[in-house]
């Protein structure tokens, strides 16, 4: 018997012979009823507004539903159409993955780097610099400044300047030109995404016990990289997990910024994300069944990437 199996056996609770598992649970619930009572408000609300809708959406994804008439059951037709007969969806998946990579891992690593650098500064300067980096994500709609900068009008800042310098002759329709949309949106996305994860990293760096570094140097840590990898990061694993999950949900839910900057939908769907596709079918075409199918797939992708991140983070410091 392997060591692991022995431990499992020891950990398994001993069941009583005189009652079934269900009766035992009920009894335990009665004993702890105060606890159940206290979690009830949250639990009920959570069930009603999160769990139930997820299942309703799963069911609706198997129907054709136009929001005003009763849904018609169509089996997996929606999925078949979505995966095999919807070019726009494939484009949206591609775009979403690009955005997810940029606002997810890239921005995640950038946040980590920035947080690490900033952590080296004196507290007062650190506070100021933190504010500068965090500002774009506090002030919700501030990305609209990009619309002013890259306005399609010939009097827009960038257009005006470029025309003055003689680089271009007429105004460029920045957010309506397929050549520029993606690049611009990615820049804006990176700029705004240094938000929550960045802040949690800063907090994470603060909680590392200084004595650990001392112990590390005694044990033979030679440089800052080793310090980061073997001491700092393992200690702040929780913050990293939080940051990662936030980054993932954010990156897959990315869309509002594109809509605000490029309109809806973007020209030739070139910055169309899964979120947009969902919006298109749910909000504009009123095909809630199909939209639910999209949502279900998005849901699955998100869960998958969360698991993946969990796996990757467990490798930190090893």
């Amino acid at each position: 018997m392997s060591e692991k199996a022995v431990m499992q056996q020891q950990a398994a609770p001993k069941l009583r012979k005189d009652m079934t598992k269900w009766e035992w649970t009920l009894r335990e619930m009665k004993v702890n009823k105060v606890g159940y009572f206290m979690v009830a408000p949250y639990y009920i609300v959570f069930m009603l507004f999160t769990i139930v809708p997820v299942f309703v959406s799963l069911f609706l994804s198997l129907t054709q539903f136009n929001m005003l008439e009763a849904p018609v059951f169509v089996g997996v037709d929606n999925y078949i159409r979505l995966l095999l007969d919807d070019d726009t969806f494939l484009l949206a998946v591609e775009n979403t993955l690009v955005f997810a990579t940029m606002t997810g891992p890239v921005s995640y690593l950038l946040s980590l780097m920035f947080a690490w650098f900033i952590n080296e500064l004196t507290p007062k300067i650190r506070a100021v610099v933190t504010l500068i980096f965090y500002a774009p994500s506090i002030s919700g709609q501030v990305y609209l400044i990009w619309q002013t900068l890259f306005s399609s009008d010939q009097y827009g800042w960038v257009n005006g300047t470029l025309m003055k310098l003689g680089i271009i002759n007429g105004p460029i329709l920045w957010f309506q030109d397929t050549d520029y949309i993606m690049t611009l949106v990615i820049v804006v996305a990176l700029w705004t995404s240094l938000g929550t994860s960045f802040l949690s990293f800063i907090a994470g760096f603060q909680v590392v016990d200084k004595s650990l570094y001392e112990a590390g140097s005694v044990d033979g840590v030679k440089n800052r990289w080793q310090e980061l990898w073997y001491i700092t990061l393992p200690v702040m694993k929780n913050q990293m997990m939080f940051g990662a999950i936030m980054a993932i949900t954010q990156s897959f839910g990315f869309g509002a910024i594109v809509t605000a900057l490029c309109g809806f939908p973007s020209v030739d769907y070139c910055a169309h994300t899964i979120m947009h596709h969902l919006d298109d079918y749910g909000g504009q075409r009123w095909e809630v069944g199909y939209a639910s199918a999209i949502a279900t797939i998005l849901f699955a992708v998100m869960i998958g990437s969360n698991l993946l991140v969990n796996k990757l983070l467990s490798k930190v410091g090893k």
Binding site: D153, P171, D177, D179, D268
Partner: protein
């Protein structure tokens, strides 16, 4: 002294001549033949000469300076009775043409005075001949009376719409100066208060008139009616830049004085050319009544400001103020109308607007007039009012009374900023008229406005040379091309410095108000000294002129809110202006507690709405609260609320869908998307309301005034001039929809009339469509004609681009072209008629199929591709901008012509007063077509987007199985409401109420064309609107129609951004569009193209 005067005169002369020369120069330059398609039936005739006649740019101050050696008149010439009006004799074609412009007037004996007077309509000219014995500067006095309603039922040009009466004064075929182009003659409006049995307004114990109360005891804004009277008035500047009567230089001999009507009819009794008496100063006034005493034992009289005797405009009405606990009267729960004026809208803050009060004085003597007022808007400045007692200024200083800025309510004696005034009043009734004026600021602001006009002109002249993106390093040789602009800039810099100093003296400090002037002055200095800096600073120059305009607009406003005006014996103690701490606390606390008991939902209703009434019609609207209140009042007044209860609810946009889904939606929705809800069977088809059903409704319900409830077809005919195009976007055509089933019930056609699958889902009540806006002054300057066709537009664009100006196009151009060339937006089954082997044998069923619209888009057709190509060329070939701020570029003149929604009219009226009268909208340029008989005509079609009122499915939830939709009582009630709402009277009143609420610039874009034209447009505007309205074209309703606009947009950007070939770019999307249309049609069980082809046996 004399030399200096002559010098300034010389400069003015120089300026004027140089400007004139320039004008001729440019006209000569651009008078090159603009190919013009003149067709017999062309209705837009805009003669260049007629326009040029009115486009005078001389200002009154220039005019005075030019004639400063001519003495003022010293005697009044004999009055000219209006009945002796003059019409020039017809001698040749030219004069015959001129006489055509003369108005069709009527001489009427006035009932009050017995005088013979002249009724003049809202358009055309009226002239008077005057014999001047001596060359002098004369004033003109006129006795007039506003007309109400219409005096002759057989004509339409004499209707009065209750807006400002506007005239243009022309002397011997010329408008002498700019100010004479817009002369306003005010009207007289009186509030309607609660009446007693003797039809007299009821006064409370405190002497305040009673307002009508709603169900919650809130006071309701009183309606106003006109109380016209005969008035004698000098012709003065309507913007009040000059407070003395305007003077006109008349040389010895015969002259013709002409009043051209721009707006509204009026009656004229006589005009008098002569001189105006000087008003005495305050010092003289004190001396004049030196013997008078201060009355003793006389109680003060409180005039409640919210109940005026008369106002000049209906938009000046009583308002609720909750900011102070001692504003009289005040109530913690109900909203009482306790003040008048304030900052919102155009309420007694534009110069010229006045309020008149009546006051009863008990004894002769000296009195103080003490208002309790609030002026929290014009920071650091003051608002001005002039005071006339019994129609006369008591003394000179009363022309510019000041109300200083303060952060709370103030109680002060009337003063001019230096001293307080007392007034001598005799026993008996008097009127006090407070008129908003520019007062002490008038000189400064007048000067600045002149400077602004000139700077705008200079900007445009520079722009014509450099273009909007000038190169900093090119030598444009301004000093050779436009030397007058350079000298002009130097002159304006000097003027600005002077004005800035004056302003500083007036307000006592240098601050935010002078900073913009100093900045421009600095910039002008730099640009005029070194012409190489002009190009580099042009951007700044433009934005500075823009901010100067904004500053001027806000500084010209004279906001003032009044609570009461006390007339008390001179020297008495003043009351307190503000509540003390305990009063304020009690007020706030009471208001807070009462807020829990106030019903905010039932909007302004006079009666309690019974929520449980099963047949009450629930109407949802998402507009503003004010509009909802108006609607409520209208329902209470002119809709039978007893047999049909209407429950009006103001809801947030976006609530309709979830509510309808949950089955708690409204019975009538004012702004749902007819397409989306219609194809999903959430709407009751309205064309089912025909004879039999409506007869049933008429038996049960009578509307006030015994108005019959009309059938759907009658509504269409009576209220919409049978204009099908308005209904196209609200109507579905599909034979598969003859009847439909829901919840196991089958709803059938009724009346024995086959509706053939035609279902109409709404009645339009507003509509928007593009028209062509252009700047008259620039067109005159460049010698351009208003375009009739798109070929004319090409010629205009060439002329504009030579002068570095541009034209604004809309992206709806593809649709416009297609409609004008007679190409439909969608394909219909009819397009495949040829595939029937024997067209004679087409069965009834297949005939119905033929009418199916929307089975495919029509964008792939040759005509459509051509239209798309032409549309993109404006942007690619001609380089016109895709993105632009229309109002701003239109105002600077950079974009003197543009296609824009006609409702932009309202915005321009408010936003750009400095170009008032210099622009207009006309119908779109068109495409030349040939009709069936081979006659050429120009198609001016414009795509219209209506907003509809719809009856939702909830209205028929009282039906039992097997019953017909129209058997539902609630649906019948709802129909009664719908057809009432779109009726002419209702829409017209709604428009009027909106104007009364927000000012004359808030015109309502109703889809009821008679109600639309019934608003106060000028004759020309009305004509243009009616023409464009007649060529409206609706885009049919069809499942999946959103996809067409989306992909057309994609194709457009592909062409503009990447230079793709237009037809190729569009063709790339056709399959996707048709695919989506078929998919969407299949989803809702409509006939698809594939099915249809299969039936016809067409291989594809």
């Amino acid at each position: 002294m004399m030399i200096a005067k002559n010098k300034s005169k010389l400069v003015v002369l120089l300026l004027v001549t140089s400007m004139l020369l320039q004008l001729f120069g440019s006209v000569a330059m651009f008078a090159a033949p603009v190919s013009q398609l003149k067709l017999e039936n062309s209705t837009t005739a805009h003669s260049l000469d007629a326009m040029a006649e009115l486009m005078v740019s001389t200002t009154y101050s220039d005019y005075l300076a030019l004639h400063d050696e001519i003495p003022d008149a010293t005697e009044n010439l004999p009055k000219i009775s209006a009945a002796d009006y003059y019409i020039p004799e017809v001698v040749d074609e030219e004069t015959a043409e001129k006489v055509k412009d003369y108005a069709d007037v009527s001489v009427v004996t006035d009932e009050e005075t017995g005088e013979e007077v002249l009724y003049t309509p809202g358009s055309g000219k009226v002239s008077f001949k005057v014999n001047v014995p001596k060359t002098a500067m004369y004033t003109i006095k006129i006795k007039y009376r506003p007309l109400v309603g219409s005096w002759d039922e057989s004509r339409t040009d004499d209707d009065s719409h209750g807006s400002n009466i506007e005239r243009i004064l022309i002397i011997d075929d010329l408008v002498p100066y700019k100010e004479a182009r817009t002369l306003n003659f005010s009207r007289f409006w009186a509030d309607n208060y609660v009446l007693n049995s003797g039809y007299e307004s009821v006064k409370g114990e405190d002497g305040r008139y009673n307002f009508r109360l709603d169900f919650n005891k809130n006071e309701m804004r009183p309606t106003k009616s006109e109380a016209p009277e005969w008035v004698e008035t000098y012709i003065t500047d309507s913007e009040t830049f000059f407070d003395a009567p305007l003077k006109f230089m008349l040389e010895e001999g015969e002259h013709v004085i002409t009043f051209e009507a721009a707006c509204e009819p009026m009656a004229i009794a006589w005009i008098e050319v002569g001189y105006a008496d000087e008003v005495i100063t305050y010092e003289e006034y004190l001396e004049k009544y030196a013997d008078a005493k201060v009355p003793e034992n006389v109680k003060e009289v409180m005039i409640h400001a919210e109940t005026p005797y008369q106002t000049s405009e209906q938009v000046i009405y009583a308002m609720n103020d909750r900011t102070s606990g001692i504003t009289y009267p005040q109530d913690p729960a109900a909203s009482l109308l306790n003040t008048i004026g304030g900052n919102g809208g155009d309420k007694w803050k534009s110069p010229g607007q006045w309020i008149k009060y009546e006051v009863e004085i008990a004894e002769d003597g000296w009195y103080d007039i003490v208002p309790r007022f609030k002026q929290t808007i014009n920071q650091g400045l003051f608002s001005s009012r002039s005071l006339k007692i019994d129609g006369e200024y008591p003394f000179l200083e009363a022309k510019s009374l000041q109300f200083k800025y303060g952060d709370d309510w103030q109680v002060k004696k009337l003063n001019d900023g230096n001293q307080d005034f007392k007034f001598y009043l005799t026993k008996g009734a008097h009127t006090l008229e407070f008129r908003a004026v520019l007062g002490d600021m008038s000189n400064v602001l007048g000067e600045i406005e002149n400077i602004q006009t000139k700077l705008n002109d200079y900007y445009r002249q520079i722009l014509m040379i450099t273009g909007s993106e000038p190169d900093d390093y090119t030598d444009y040789e301004f000093s050779k091309l436009i030397p007058s602009v350079l000298t002009g800039m130097k002159q304006e810099k000097k003027n600005l410095d002077k004005v800035s100093k004056e302003l500083e003296e007036k307000i006592g400090t240098k601050g935010e108000n002078t900073v913009i002037l100093d900045r421009i002055s600095f910039l002008l200095d730099e640009m005029s000294k070194d012409e190489n800096k002009i190009a580099a600073n042009l951007g700044n120059f433009k934005s500075y002129i823009g901010s100067l305009g904004t500053w001027l607009l806000s500084t010209k406003a004279q906001p003032l809110q009044l609570d009461y005006v006390l007339v008390q014996p001179a020297g008495n103690k003043l009351p307190k202006a503000n509540a003390n701490f305990f009063q304020s606390m009690a007020h706030e606390l009471k208001s807070f507690i009462m807020s829990f008991f106030t019903d905010y939902n039932s909007i302004g209703s006079a009666t309690k709405i019974d929520d449980d009434d099963p047949n009450a019609v629930e109407v949802w609207i998402t507009t503003g609260r004010d509009q909802a209140t108006i609607m409520r009042q209208m329902v209470d007044d002119s809709f039978n609320n007893e047999s049909v209860a209407v429950n009006l609810k103001l809801i947030a946009a976006g609530t309709l869908l979830p509510a309808t889904l949950a089955g708690v939606g409204p019975d009538v929705s004012m702004d749902a998307d007819p397409n989306g809800y219609g194809i999903r069977n959430a709407v009751v088809p309205l064309n089912y309301f025909q004879d039999e059903t409506v007869a049933k409704i008429n038996e049960r319900i009578t509307l006030p005034g015994d108005k019959k409830i009309l059938t759907y077809d009658e509504v269409k005919k009576t209220y919409f001039r049978d204009n099908d195009e308005l209904f196209v976007p609200l109507t579905l055509l599909d034979p598969d929809r003859v009847e439909y089933e829901e919840d196991g019930k089958t709803y059938k056609n009724i009346d024995g009339v086959e509706r053939n699958g035609v279902v109409s889902y709404g009645l339009p009540y507003t509509i928007d469509f593009p028209m062509l806006f252009y700047r008259k002054d620039i067109f005159v300057e460049l010698g351009l004609e208003v375009p009739e066709t798109w070929d004319d537009v090409e010629a205009i664009i060439r002329a504009l681009s030579e002068n570095q100006m541009e034209m604004g196009f809309s992206q709806a151009m593809t649709q416009i072209y297609m409609y004008q060339s007679g190409i439909e937006w969608f394909e219909s089954a009819e397009d495949y008629k040829e595939y029937y082997e024997n067209p004679e044998e087409i069965t009834r069923d297949s005939r119905e199929y033929l009418r199916t619209v929307g089975i495919a888009s029509n964008l792939g057709s040759n005509g459509a591709l051509d239209a798309f190509q032409r549309m993109t060329e404006w942007f690619t070939l001609y380089g016109e901008p895709v993105t632009y701020d229309f109002a701003n570029r239109f105002r600077t003149g950079e974009m003197p012509i543009s296609i824009a929604a006609y409702t932009v009219y309202n915005q321009l009226k408010v936003f750009a007063p400095e170009i008032a009268g210099l622009w207009e909208f006309v119908q779109l340029p068109g495409v030349e077509r040939v009709d069936d008989e081979g006659n050429k005509y120009i198609d001016h079609s414009t795509p219209g987007t209506p907003q509809a009122v719809m009856m939702m499915k909830d209205a028929v939830d009282d039906l039992k199985d097997g019953q017909d939709i129209t058997e539902s009582k609630k649906a019948q009630n709802a129909w009664a409401f719908l057809q009432w709402w779109v009726s002419k009277d209702t829409q017209e009143r709604f428009g009027q109420e909106q104007v009364a609420l927000m000012g004359t610039a808030a015109k309502y874009n109703t889809a009821n064309v008679d109600a639309l034209l019934g608003q106060s447009w000028t004759a020309q505007e009305k004509k243009n609107l009616e023409q464009q309205f007649a060529s409206l074209k609706g885009t049919p309703m069809s499942p999946g129609n959103y996809i067409v606009a989306r992909y057309t947009n994609f194709a457009f950007y592909n062409v503009v951004d990447d230079g793709e070939v237009a037809s190729e770019a569009m063709r790339g999307y056709i399959d996707d569009i048709d695919h989506e249309l078929s998919r969407k049609r299949a989803e809702y069980g409509f006939l698809t193209k594939e099915e249809y082809f299969e039936e016809l046996g067409i291989e594809r």
